[in-house]
């Protein structure tokens, strides 16, 4: 049986040839919650964007396939891709402050998508919006629906974005660092909310983050990305018990311990970084020779 979402040999590079992703492989089963972890610049957001077809124009896909329910998304024309993604997948974006259109009222932003793109009736869409806002525990939904985004706090906006992502019952949701822009107390509420919504709706979730703590709370499996290369692909228990790759070990050791504030922070050692970098240089050499 083919996986629900599988990424095979995905390579992405900049126009100038610099490689962003290096033959990435990843599989998600139906209903799985997978964390995609890596430091900034590792290319983790780009995987999510590639799946949704919203890669920045400066990037090009060199090779690979993204099989979503058996269809290779990279072979679809823009129209088919829009249809496939619009109906079956959704994004919870990183920055709630810019992810809502400042010119439109909240209610309209959620319902428009259902009405214009998925062909719902206006009445159904409005009813669904109320239900969703209720589900993400927004007090006084009537007022919120008639508000403009700037009138709401960051946490509220992220709740709205979550509601909006779940609106059309998508089978796949990509959460691109959904808690990074929020302060710590709100982060926890939002994480719980995403977890709760995911288990209630049975959605497959790809959770992009740089926070291992978040992964341990929400995810079942994870892929560790470093320099555009998946260096570890495992389930959460074995990762936190016995990471195999030296970089993963170093990452875990580097996690600050809140229980012991006196302890020193341990950075990932140069040695490990250099060994991965050498590996990558070798890979790129083979890659450019192969072309």
């Amino acid at each position: 049986m083919t996986a629900f979402l599988s990424i095979r040999n995905l390579s992405i590079s900049l126009q100038n040839g610099e490689r962003i992703l290096r033959s990435v492989n990843m599989e998600l089963a139906r209903g799985e919650v997978r964390g995609l972890v890596g430091e900034s610049g590792a290319g983790k957001s780009m995987i999510g964007k590639a799946i949704l077809g919203i890669l920045p124009r400066a990037l090009k896909i060199d090779e690979g396939e993204i099989l979503f329910q058996g269809k290779n998304l990279l072979n679809l024309n823009p129209r088919e891709l829009r249809k496939e993604i619009g109906a079956n997948a959704a994004l919870i974006p990183q920055d709630p402050l810019t992810a809502l259109n400042p010119s439109h009222r909240i209610g309209r932003q959620i319902t428009n998508r259902l009405v214009d793109i998925l062909g719902w009736s206006k009445g159904d869409a409005v009813k669904r919006t109320y239900d969703l806002l209720d589900e993400v525990r927004i007090p006084d939904p009537k007022r919120v629906i008639n508000s403009f985004p700037h009138e709401l706090s960051g946490g509220m906006r992220q709740r709205i974005l979550i509601a909006s992502a779940f609106a059309a019952e998508p089978k796949l949701i990509i959460a691109d660092e959904p808690t990074t822009a929020l302060d710590v107390t709100v982060q926890k509420q939002i994480l719980n909310l995403i977890g709760e919504m995911q288990s209630r709706h049975g959605t497959t979730l790809l959770f992009v983050t740089h926070d291992l703590g978040v992964v341990s709370k929400v995810c079942q499996s994870l892929s560790v990305l470093f320099l555009g290369k998946v260096i570890e692909d495992t389930n959460v228990f074995s990762f936190f018990d016995s990471p195999t790759h030296p970089y993963s070990k170093a990452l875990l050791a580097a996690t600050p311990k809140y229980t012991d504030p006196e302890s020193d922070l341990i950075p990932v050692s140069e040695e490990i970084l250099n060994s991965v970098k050498e590996e990558v240089v070798q890979l790129d050499l083979e890659w450019s020779n192969g072309r």
Partner: protein
């Protein structure tokens, strides 16, 4: 968690009242000029030349703001001159705005070769000295109202294009655009429904500024006698004529100047005020 109570019905403010009031007054003056003007703006009366305004010695009844060296009534000429000024302001700036903003949005949103073509065109265009360009154009097209309007459009669309392109680009980079795309909206739909409403406040401000600029350009062209024929009063024409007798009859040049000044100022202030009301974030 809803931060502030909603307060859309914000006060209009003194600035909006004053600028809007002046423009409304001009509009009414334009419409009713034949009724309210004390004199025929073209009628010459050499026995009544260079009469001073009403508070000075030598004032003669109904020449409220004095008369020029040919004995034409200054007030009547200002009122009739408003017709040309407002007509040019409205038509020329609206057309300029539509053309410039459309090209700007297209360039900023689609990028790539569309942007390349439009931006290079703007660059080349802006390399021409504008006044020379206008004079050249009118030399080719001949004088007249249509020529002035065309000249303003041709010179000024680049101003809109540049600003709106930049604004569109910064809006296009926002997450809400990526979200809309991931939600399955088509590119053209995103441009119209997501981006244009956010660029609109900037367009409105530019439009009102452009109205002020159009009034000035028209005055400049009248001043160098390249506007419509001297048969019809224009503010620029009056300033040009008043220049020769400024020591004997300063009122001939000062009143049209004040009118011009207030009008341009009102347009720009109106634009600022409208922006505050249009922009959902500032509102």
């Amino acid at each position: 968690m809803v931060d502030t109570p909603r307060n859309i019905n914000r006060k209009i403010g003194l600035r909006m009242w004053l600028s809007g009031g002046w423009l409304l007054f001009l509009l009414l003056a334009t419409l009713f000029a034949p009724i309210i003007s004390p004199h025929d703006p073209l009628a010459q009366d050499l026995f009544a030349s260079r009469l001073p305004p009403f508070w000075m010695d030598g004032y003669e009844a109904t020449y409220y703001l004095g008369s020029d060296s040919l004995g034409r009534d200054v007030l009547s000429r200002i009122l009739y001159g408003a017709q040309i000024a407002l007509l040019v302001a409205l038509i020329a700036s609206t057309a300029t705005c539509v053309i410039g903003a459309t090209l700007g949005v297209l360039a900023g949103y689609y990028g790539g070769w569309v942007d390349l073509v439009i931006s290079r065109l703007v660059d080349i265009w802006m390399a021409f000295p504008p006044v020379l360009f206008a004079i050249l154009l009118i030399a080719v097209l001949g004088t007249g109202l249509t020529s002035i309007i065309i000249a303003i459009i041709v010179i000024d669309w680049t101003r809109f294009c540049r600003v709106i392109r930049a604004e569109t680009m910064s809006q296009s980079a926002m997450d809400y655009v990526a979200s809309a795309k991931a939600a399955g909206r088509a590119r053209f739909g995103i441009m119209i429904k997501e981006i244009v409403p956010n660029v609109l406040p900037t367009i409105v401000v530019l439009l009102t500024l452009e109205m002020g600029i159009a009034v000035i350009v028209e005055a400049i062209l009248s001043f160098v006698n390249l506007s419509i024929s001297t048969d019809f009063p224009t503010w620029g024409g009056m300033i040009s004529e008043g220049r020769t007798s400024v020591h004997q009859a300063w009122w001939v040049i000062v009143f049209p100047l004040i009118t011009l000044f207030l009008t341009v100022l009102s347009f720009s202030q109106l634009g600022e005020g409208l922006k505050d009301r249009f922009d959902p974030v500032l509102r």
